[in-house]
Symmetry: C2
Subunit: 326 residues, 2 copies
């Protein structure tokens, strides 16, 4: 499983302090107390974290964190006692007082689910020693929502299923995966066009299964999907029209002076395949993957440090893309 | 009048030998006799000419000459006794045994109608001395078709009326020009899209007017059209969407792997305006003007030296454009 299909791997652990009710049953005072405790424990970790109070951010700053997958959309709403601890490279983030007291998240580039899990597991153990998590011998980790009960773990891959999306087989695959306890969904918006053919596939079962088995199962599904995507790409590449489309996407991205989010995602998706298939050179996949994140509306505004009108965003987006692809 | 609007200037003189009937009334023997006489006279000119027997060319070779404006479409049909004399740089061409015994043509880049006329006039005098042209004191030069009677001269400008075409004012202008004795028409095909917004404007009146007056009248019309085109471009350039379109056209041309003649003409037309308006750099207008000629189907086949299927042409066209724009 190469980077040509798997963009990133993510582990998220839901944890709660034994001595406190779940956040939804805490008042402001309670949330601040929980935050204080967790903050102290996080400061004691070997990894260095930056703390962000969600109340202190401009709206686009918070939304930009959603776009970068650092926080959940719910968490972007300002509330006293909500804070985010984030490592310098943003690969580790801990939401404090989201649905659960802690949501520990680790994202790694490419197919690196086990590595991501090891990092999350280490942080989990260190914090557990300091905070004492709510755990039941029979049920496992206790979480506010019963769907997280057990491992409290959600593992996921972000995959670029450009060819499967083009051949409209993603829908059929999604239905089959649901029966097996997995969920696949477009990362950005509903339409495949808007999404840039980025899909997130994750495990849904947390009860009665070990973390290792859950990860192994997801990895095997991901491998099958990867192979299927690569085969479909190979077939598409036999057509000159398809090669032409990929190549032109690069030309348009390098010369546009105005570009919408939707069009940019579609073109970046094409360029990504073009790089993998060797018809576009001198650009790294990493550059494209980064662009797919930072060209989102709130992230653009965060980079510019101010609110922008839709046309101003389209201009800023075109500039950002052109400069990155040079 | 700069090159930003006027691509080229053309003078064509229709002449006939006094002692022979018009070509349509000659048999093969007669045409060959006329050809022999003219050939000898042309060989005596100060300028060096290459002779091409239209019978010896493959079909695409002859059509390619039509595309390069060296000959008329009628002349491309093989017929014994038809030959073309062409100068090395192809700026001067003499069709022998077309509708008239001689059609002397001079094309110059940019707005250079007077220079073109001077060259044509010099050749005309030299050939007249050797061949003795059919001339009537009252009617002027005698030609097969009465519409050429008198000066036997057709003068024309090739103009890039991209903005006027976009704003759909060319139609209205064409109607007015007809009343004044001028004709304006799309150079390639009927639709403005297909033409790449290239228009040829020419005088229609040859009787009762001197060559000088005809040229002066045409130049003044051309200047008005030029100004109107430039003002309209300026207005269009106020829109970011228009600038975006021009800029993207360059990106697509540089990266396409397949491109139809129609699309290529539309994009080259945009790039031409982009260069004039300073938003596309490092490409000369001359490169674009040449491309507009050589990407035509028969010219492409002439370059490749063989017949090509439509898809092969689209591939060859994309390569040729990419290499020229690098």
């Amino acid at each position: 499983m190469g980077e040509s299909v798997v963009i990133s791997s993510r582990i998220r652990l839901a944890r709660n302090l034994r001595e406190y009710p779940f956040p939804c049953r805490l008042d402001e005072q309670g949330r601040l107390e929980v935050l204080e405790k967790i903050k102290k424990a996080v400061e004691g970790l070997s990894e260095e974290f930056i703390f962000v109070n969600m109340e202190d951010l401009p709206e686009y700053g918070a939304v930009s964190m959603v776009e970068r997958h650092l926080i959940s959309p719910e968490f972007a709403k300002p509330l006293a006692g909500r804070a985010l601890a984030v490592s310098k490279d943003e690969s580790i983030s801990i939401m404090i007082n989201e649905e659960d007291h802690l949501r520990i998240q680790v994202i790694k580039s490419g197919a690196a689910l086990k590595e991501a899990y090891e990092i999350a597991d280490k942080i989990d153990r260190e914090l557990d020693a300091a905070l004492s998590f709510a755990y039941d011998k029979k049920l496992g980790y206790l979480t506010q929502c019963p769907t997280n009960l057990g491992t409290g773990m959600r593992a996921s891959f972000m995959m670029h299923l450009c060819a499967l999306s083009e051949s409209r087989t993603v829908q059929r695959i999604a239905t089959n995966l649901t029966k097996l306890g997995f969920v696949i969904r477009g990362t950005y918006g509903e339409g495949s066009e808007y999404s840039g053919a980025l899909y997130q596939i994750s495990n849904q079962i947390t009860l009665g299964i070990s973390e290792e088995s859950a990860i192994d199962n997801l990895m095997s599904i991901c491998e099958q999907l990867s192979n299927s995507e690569l085969q479909t790409r190979e077939k598409l590449m036999e057509s000159m029209e398809y090669q032409d489309r990929l190549s032109r996407s690069m030309g348009i991205l390098m010369t546009a002076r105005l570009i919408s989010h939707q069009e940019a995602m579609r073109l970046l998706s094409n360029v990504r395949v073009g790089i993998c298939e060797g018809i576009i050179e001198d650009i790294s996949l990493n550059t494209i993957d980064k662009l797919m994140i930072i060209i989102q509306p709130a992230s653009l505004m965060s980079i510019e440090g101010k609110k922008l009108t839709p046309q101003e965003r389209d201009i800023a987006r075109a500039k950002l893309i052109k400069n990155s692809l040079r």
